[in-house]
Symmetry: C2
Subunit: 466 residues, 2 copies
């Protein structure tokens, strides 16, 4: 059973939020959990109808004041709560789920409401670091499994990172080849000389349509993207880094695996590389895995930190989203009047999602997947090349939770990556690993003097676009 | 005759370069100069055919080594040299034209070849300031008229700026209403409290088509746009500015009206406003008028400078160009493999081009034109909403030169703006002037602490996006 791609589930799936990702995920749940629509309960304030017939829809927004009452009516022990909302607290719903014997999965770690853009909170308080620190105390207890940050990225990206390390290690006989415990993985990364891990994503999907003024266009949730785009830029902060950025700040509490910059992630550009276009500029938008991967690979010696890679996102969103973001920044991040998620209108493109491992012997190694819109549509209805990997991440996490039901709060790095990759692979299109000679100092234009650290290409100072 | 929109011309028009702007301009020359295609000579290294039948095409590139020989064969006294190239020196062709009794017009001030991206030259040497300083010594002599920087912007933008000042003055009885000499205009700007002039352009044209990887898409010359995008950011530097930017640098020689920043203009974002979308972020790409307008409005008292506005461009190119620019920066400004100028594919949009006058009593005044793609196509074949204002600027400058043939080197500010606006107006679509309460401090998001000068909204420090 463990290695089947299917796990029949007879309980209810309570889905909080019903946007593009929820819709994208349903076909995979029908197939892999062998559920039918009668097992689905949706809670969402938006007017929706379930694309597959009946099911129950509760047309309301969960709030700090009502969630206990509402969920108590709906959730029974053994049910599965799937939080795909923007603005329903992961922390509070996890506590509820664990108290009521329900499993839980989230593709991020959500705060209540619009806390990510609440100017009454400090940047540190609005960070994903702070949201994760809230969750960490819930770990460890023998409670129902509650998986956080398990979509594509965050989620599959962490499993890619492990696979990438194994691939590199296969060519480096010195390194241990069968890492099991957390410290084994940190030792492996250190032994391979890994300095930096980019979650390197390039969405080339394009639609042959025009857009309205003040319309935000994306291939996935506009609300979700805007929320993380306005959070502070965050990155796992490696031990090789010589110099805190001028706008960088450490946290005063918690694991210290990450720092943040005092500006929106969407305004920070970083140099990265992917197999679709080669070198590119990506947005360093905050993501859970930037923190959890860095934390997971951290090695300590008598409580002092001796190794950690720098980890961050480098996201080239689809062109329409890139323009939408530019214009929204131009309106001081005011919420756009119209929102438009591209679906049937997409005519071509791929979503290339992988990790770029920097600093190892062959310079850089990219491991990830290239999924085309055509393949995504063939694989699952209602999907595009961005939603399907997220849906696969969700489905794989749910199967894993059902087969590992008593693990408490779990982050992607704590799951067995071969099992997850086995489950998601059918939905990722082409998977590949390749070396590249590229590093952040490669082919700088020379048009203007730049402050560079020539002794170490992988200093964040070199990676960041000034 | 002077006030006719037509001026019959019997000489030859020698067009250097034959890209999108040359094509766009031809119908206007046929109409307003009443020439036919037999009077046209085109010199271009690219394989082209004249869209209106015969004419002569010389399929070669002018270089420092061959231009005298070639032009000597082609140019007779009274002819008109129209330099619409990227990379044929305005300075050298003007000297040739004046020596051979020919009139001249250029939409910029070009250097030879790819000097704008020659890493062997310093940023100061690659600036438009330096190119203009080369031309200034050619001024003043009673030689054939040679107009530089006279397309839409640079070009019409300078005439818009004067008209905007008159509009504002009409509501301010204290100000002189009939400025004639250069100092009158400076006095007027100062009396009105003008601190900043943005050339505020927003191109909303969109095409329902998809693009290739490594393809640069624009509504006008890709080569021209890339050349200026990689030049240093430049701005006329106002006397109200309290603080040179950290990356800013003054020039060691010349008029001192402008400074430059040690980075490509395409990487510098500024806050501006336009009537199409309200507040927006624009690229502060260098343009001739940023320097010449600032210089023209400068007031001196016993050779010390007492007044000058800050002047710069704030350009929101069409979405496809914005994305192309982003990706080209990601490839360290390497020349893109494919170039694509949008024409028939455009399905909607306007080019809003105007000046935003900041600091006057009613806060800000925008004066300019909104030309839609539909109107542009109705007005002249082979045009879009970006090319037609440029073509109109060229045509108007040529008519003006023919009617003012002995004025030597002339910049837009030195021409009579009502006459130029009379000539170009039929091609600009809707022209409008409107006040706005917006200034660069309006509705800042408050998400992150910003260093702001609250005592003067119009400090460049507030305008620049950090």
């Amino acid at each position: 059973m463990t290695h089947s791609l299917h796990h029949p589930f007879r309980g209810k799936v309570i889905i909080i939020g019903f946007g593009s990702i929820a819709r994208a995920t349903l076909p995979l749940l029908f197939k892999h959990l062998m559920i039918d629509v009668s097992q689905i309960i949706v809670i969402t304030p938006e007017r929706v109808s379930l694309p597959y017939g009946a099911g129950r829809i509760y047309p309301l927004a969960l709030t700090p004041g009502n969630y206990r009452q509402i969920l108590t009516r709906l959730v029974s022990p053994g049910d599965f709560i799937l939080n795909l909302s923007v603005g329903v607290s992961s922390h509070d719903i996890i506590q509820f789920a664990q108290a009521h014997g329900a499993l839980y999965l989230d593709t991020g770690i959500e705060p209540w409401g619009e806390a990510c853009r609440d100017t009454g909170l400090s940047p540190a308080q609005r960070s994903n670091y702070a949201l994760r620190e809230q969750i960490l105390p819930l770990k460890g207890a023998a409670r129902p499994t509650a998986i956080v940050t398990h979509g594509a990225n965050p989620g599959i990206a962490s499993h890619f990172a492990k696979q990438a390390l194994l691939d590199i290690a296969a060519g480096s006989p010195a390194a241990p080849l069968h890492p099991m415990r957390q410290t084994d993985w940190g030792e492996l990364a250190r032994a391979l000389g890994v300095k930096t891990i980019h979650i390197s994503e390039h969405d080339t999907q394009t639609a042959a349509c025009t857009y309205r003024m003040n319309e935000f266009v994306n291939t996935w949730s506009v609300d979700g993207f805007l929320a993380e785009a306005c959070q502070p830029a965050e990155l796992g902060w490696g031990t090789h880094e010589r110099c805190l950025p001028g706008d960088g700040e450490s946290h005063t509490e918690g694991c210290q695996a990450a720092i943040f910059l005092n500006r929106p992630g969407a305004s920070v550009l970083v140099r990265s590389w992917n197999p679709v276009c080669g070198p590119f500029h990506g947005l360093m938008i905050t993501h859970g895995e930037s923190i959890s991967l860095a934390d997971y690979f951290t090695l300590t010696d008598h409580s002092s930190i001796v190794y950690r890679p720098t980890v961050h996102y480098a996201y080239r969103p689809c062109s329409a989203a890139l323009v939408s973001l530019f214009d929204t920044a131009g309106r001081n991040w005011e919420t756009p009047e119209h929102k438009h998620i591209l679906q049937e209108e997409i005519v071509s493109g791929v979503d290339a999602l992988g990790v770029l491992i920097g600093g190892c012997a062959h310079q850089s190694y990219w491991y990830g997947s290239l999924l085309s819109i055509t393949t995504a549509r063939q694989l699952a209805p209602g999907n595009n090349a961005s939603s399907l990997p997220v849906a696969a991440g969700i489905m794989s996490g749910m199967v894993w939770a059902l087969q590992n039901p008593g693990r408490g709060v779990v982050e992607p790095e704590e799951m067995d990556h071969p099992r997850i990759l086995e489950l998601v692979s059918p939905y990722l299109g082409q998977q590949l690993g390749m070396y590249t000679g590229w590093n952040p100092l490669t082919a700088r234009s020379g048009l203007f003097k730049e402050s560079l650290d020539l002794n170490d290409p992988w200093q964040f100072h070199n990676v960041r676009v000034d």
